[in-house]
Symmetry: D3
Subunit: 316 residues, 6 copies
């Protein structure tokens, strides 16, 4: 990732293409004042966005549910995404994939508008290389992460719907902060107030028991696109698949566990609150699903992570 590349990337911001380095949001924007921006993160595989329409469809649902109007149609979002990739194509190494973020907020808060303008959304689209994020995660694919439950609980969807992907998520950061004390391979996995396991702070969670695949019913969680893909792959592989309420006891007595998330795809969790899950190693069902996922998307994301890790090491 050389300096000139960075310097060259552009992002779409409120109707204009601006250099990524300069891309900034007014201090009076509602997304900063109220945290009321909604967004989506997809990633590319071989520079093609993964299930873009599904992500945009969820973005639309998030906007509807929080009363935000982008003033941009789904088709236009697709076009802009293509343009983003086209404009930046020679800014990425050929083997470097990137995440793509679409974000919408209501724009400048009405109290700070000097003129009596009508509502005017802020729309932001950018693509950021996965080199750093994925490279740093490379060891996780060999050793698995430690899924740690912090004191911070999920906010129930009746109060702040986790199915709406918004920027109001200080509680995720509180959870991340708490869990960071357990070492660099600890990842937060939240519990709701009923005691059920819900999701990570930006990811979904699966457990494997007696060959069956279990994940939280889609209530106090973001219904992740990768989660959806893994459920489909599990079914295609003949695994019984259940979306249910489950608890820490079930994780502690599971055979395997893993996170799903857009940039990392599937990440094995080999410990739960520091205690090994099953044998404490990356398990066969994980491997089977990861292989199926790799075949599905056409990119070996694990190999990719290791390649990026090497590049990060070179950069020092």
């Amino acid at each position: 990732m050389s300096a000139e590349h960075i310097a060259g990337r552009v992002v779409f911001l409120n109707g204009e293409w601006v250099p990524e380095r300069d891309a900034a949001i007014s201090i009076f924007d509602s997304s900063l004042i109220w945290g009321d921006a909604v967004f989506e993160t997809t990633r590319t595989f071989l520079h093609e966005p993964f299930r873009l329409k599904d992500h945009l469809s969820r973005l639309e649902a998030s906007m509807a549910a929080s009363g935000i109007h982008a003033g941009v149609s789904q088709d236009r979002f697709v076009e802009l995404t293509s343009e983003l990739i086209a404009r930046n194509r020679d800014q990425y190494e050929p083997d470097v994939d990137f995440s793509i973020v679409h974000q919408v907020s209501p724009g400048v808060d009405s109290r700070y508008r000097e003129e009596s303008v009508t509502e005017c959304a802020s729309v932001l689209i950018y693509g950021h290389p996965l080199t750093k994020m994925l490279g740093e995660a490379a060891p996780w694919f060999d050793y698995g992460v430690n899924a740690v439950v912090p004191r911070q609980r999920s906010i129930p969807s009746r109060l702040l719907d986790a199915k709406i992907k918004s920027r109001s998520r200080l509680h995720y950061q509180v959870a991340n902060h708490e869990v960071s004390l357990h070492g660099p391979d600890a990842r937060a996995i939240l519990q709701d107030e009923d005691g059920f396991i819900t999701e990570g702070t930006g990811s979904n969670f699966f457990i494997v028991r007696d060959g069956e695949l279990l994940t939280s019913e889609g209530r106090n969680v973001l219904r992740g696109v990768t989660r959806d893909t893994v459920l489909r792959l599990g079914r295609e592989l003949g695994m019984p698949v259940h979306e249910i309420n489950y608890e820490p006891y079930d994780v502690a007595t599971a055979d395997e566990a893993f996170f799903t998330t857009t940039p990392y795809c599937l990440v094995p969790a080999t410990r739960f609150n520091g205690v090994p899950i099953g044998e404490g190693v990356v398990g066969p069902i994980y491997r089977q699903l990861a292989d199926a996922f790799i075949e599905d998307v056409g990119v070996d994301f694990i190999a990719q992570a290791k390649t990026y890790a090497g590049r990060l090491a070179e950069l020092g």
Copy 2:
């Protein structure tokens, strides 16, 4: 408020004084990614900030509770505030007071930092004239607002502490959006899941019953500085004052009610879900407290609102 004045205002942003118009936050700032910025809003009376140290002390508590480090001492914040006022003094009309915002976030999210920098907070301080905000509120002081309870409930402090003044408050906007359907003088007043009245979306709420002053105990609410001042004034005026749990039934059967909030000071509420509170007019206890407040701060905020309203009308 003439155009040249606006053009001239400066804000403090990450160590520099920049024009307010250009003040913007990187799209990779943690405050935008996670909504994990904390802030304070005070206002001036005759260009002097109101209880600045109390606001800064609460800012420090918010930072501590959410694990954010400003890298700026309380004393330095006081100095910067003085400098803000000094630099902008000739940008405000002499009779125009302004709100002052201090905001801190952890800065650019680590996943987006190109170089391996250590944590580096974003610090923002700005002062914004109250002309528009207060001018638009002028009729409220004569007729009172309609306090409306939306379906959206307060998030309990055990999940996201309302005592921490943060930017993760999409739920406030959902509440505001819901209540806006009840007309321009409807203001949201939230209930928690126990059914208790908590606070407005950026304000506290009081009711008066049989000459006694009641407000929510300081649990699922921001413990407002103006709230604190009003409690003191009530005591000084010989009113029994209670911080308790109270319910919609108590508001519906109250004699008077009002909001407290930094920019508007005390705003009478004469209706509750559209039904008159008591006689449905601005009440004597409100007037008594508003007078005491005016004497305390040295500015007649009601007259000020009307002056600003006139100016807004002129600007058309």
Copy 3:
């Protein structure tokens, strides 16, 4: 519906057949003092009661669960129902169907009994023409209603079991009152304290998503007889049918929605809190199920509603 007809209808009240106009309950009856009456409402199709035995069986369950003894057997209730229809047959226009209500309470409250009588239930059976109720609803079948969630929540079944069809339902009226502010086509749809959608105030609710039929699991809801019929019809039509917990988010993102209720059968809901559901029009799955229902009961209830509406218009 001519005046002489009305004058002629009789109801069964505590062992006697009395004119409907004079039918009244003692002010000391327990149903008035404590709201502890249970009841059932069925309706006729072509003057034949719909699933009478199922309704009477649920009445028996309601009595058992609330400790009320009718002193009248299920068979006797069937006989009395036949007699009700026979006695009133020439009081209805041939094309006018009617609702049939069976109601039981413990009778006069013991504190108000002058003599030391043992417990003596009040039993009431009446049949009321659907002309007004159904006629007023005629536009709903063309345009759909607006399903609005009020602040009033369902009372959880552990406190007052919604599966017991009782007259203690002030909370339904509070909900109806709240929702009535949203216009004449707004119908209340309740949420429980977990945030799940439960039922209308005397109806069940269904959503359609990707060709699947979803309704609330039978917990904090009355397990409606029409609901049961629609579930059966859905299965017969090859639709996947789920009784699950679902939330406002699911309604907001559904393709279609509708209410089921005895007098109106199936009523389409085309808006949710004022926002269109799917395309905002009566949908194909609704039409398919309504057609199946019409075939099942032998009466086109939609055409019937329009006929009645015409008659109401004539009556002016």
Copy 4:
């Protein structure tokens, strides 16, 4: 209480004075259909109503909170009450006091109104001699009752406000039914879902500990008028008085306990779930408060109960 007297009593029902025996509510009245009637029960002392204005003021609050309009002013209610007493005066023995009930419902449910009448409330006022009710309770004043907590919990005020005195109270009857299995001197005392003791099914509850008087804070309870009188008397007698949340543990370890309720005034509870409270006898603080109450109202309600018991025995 002779037969001719009963025959002679009249009640006020929807604008007319009708014989009590014939007083009945239409089977289509909203109070029967939805349980949405609100009411008040006061009693006389020497044929003078006890704190009538306070009861009527609470009736007004109940109407406001449940959206019912009586169409009758507070003053008119006072007049009607005087008229009720005057009309019935020679129907009561001179030493027989009576309860007075004021009840309001929205009247015939709109779906059952033949003509398009506007809303038309049902208003009911009656006075019923306390002979039976109070006579049967006579032994309680000597031996105390057994306060029993049933499984049935209070419905929290956020769902159905206990402060609104309504007829939707099937749950009270379920509680009464459950408790009746513990013998004739068992009276239900409810717990809310937090585990706090709330109220009886139509009464308030007090405990005495170390000379201090404690009763539930006025949240999930009816804020009883007798409760209010007892709190005042306690204060006048120099007792520390607390309105707090308290639990079964506090009752089990209390020195004394008693119920307050309009017809019975103060009833000692000497057992809790069958286990003696303190010494298990009527205690000194109860006696002190009962004496003060007797002095306050000018009638020895305990002696009265015994007189009535004798009369009931004569009537056999």
Copy 5:
């Protein structure tokens, strides 16, 4: 059961085989100080332990979940169990089966250890004849028990996991004590705070409705081994089997109900809170499942209970 036999039984306690009569735990053992022992109870059929490995596997899960280390492997537990049976074989009548308990606690509480020993678990294994326990239960198999819901609720698994079989269960005893007032054939059946039926105090509960077998989902319950066997047998017999949330209403309207528990296998419940379930007699589905169970384990536990009852009567 003769005296010499009792005198002769030995138990395994902390590495030694000691006479059962002398087997005792130090007053400083953590199991007594904190109630932090976990255990399993299986029983023999023809002196062979029932599903021993499943019980030991659950013991291991209980230890893991509560942080207790036995220092004894699963294989060693199996060996010790064989040795227990071998050592005691001639202490039991040939037709007397026995329960087998495996219990582990962390041993003497560290604050009471005189020397600085490292953690040293207490391990206890004993086998106790079922003569008394099962003999006393003999009438239940003919008449069924009365399943009574006490006020005491289940502790939710998020606070004290019912899936961990521990000795901290004072709340079970409180429930048992409460229910014992309903007569000798009353058995406690708990409800959780959501109102769902969970389990007995050491047993699971099933209901039968329309030929379908329902039991609580495995959340706030011990996932019993006999429960698991019955679920399997139900499936093998072609019954639809559901692990779901169900409520008192469902029990009250069920056709049959029964408890499962290790020593008693399957016990019919013919009443619920004193009211007959279905016909109020032992039902056909129970009989079918009991027969299948008898075939599965090779012992007619009902006949066995009656034999033991006869022996108890002789001992009288």
Copy 6:
């Protein structure tokens, strides 16, 4: 603490005085089977028990609330305590105080009683020197402990009353285990499900703010005797004292904090979840209260701890 002394101590167990080393509870005792023992721990100051009658009175309340009958009167408990001290007096160094435990359980579980004996409680009284417990705590008085909130929450008193001091407290051990990962000076401080701070695992907790003394209202906590003493001392010293609900935010922003507990009296907490409270050192209000406590009991418990620490060091 020499070996002969230990060998010589005796305890009261079920009517007999037995050597402490041999004191053990039958494996069939209900306290082991169900964790249904209740107990009290007081300590001596100069070999005199501290507030013995208050402890015994609470023991009686615990027995009453859990349905356990000791068969031993309060007076007899006092006598036995005197005898315990007398019998063991020469077994303690003159300057070594000891804790005194009184424990009662229902005795051998009825299912394991060979003969049909009636209920027969187990009663246990012992005195254990504080040398080890207090000596190990010596550094806490200089540096304060780290009060850490684990994920394990308090069980609400409606489910298992913390005011009943029982042995069913596995959840305390789970909390202790969790917190032990934060180092040897970390002590658990629990939160209830409302988010309020309740108590330590066998201690109460106080915070100091602006010179006021705050502790949890006595709901989900053991109402400790030392807590009660400290409240009295605070009042005598002129401090405003409040028993209220408070939250982690209040601890994080407090000036000082400390635990109270029988053996350690008052222990300063200088950190909360690892973050300094106030200045992070033992504070002046703590010192003032500790001094008052020392004067009250006549023993400098801090000096005592240090003396014991020295002795432990000698013993190696």
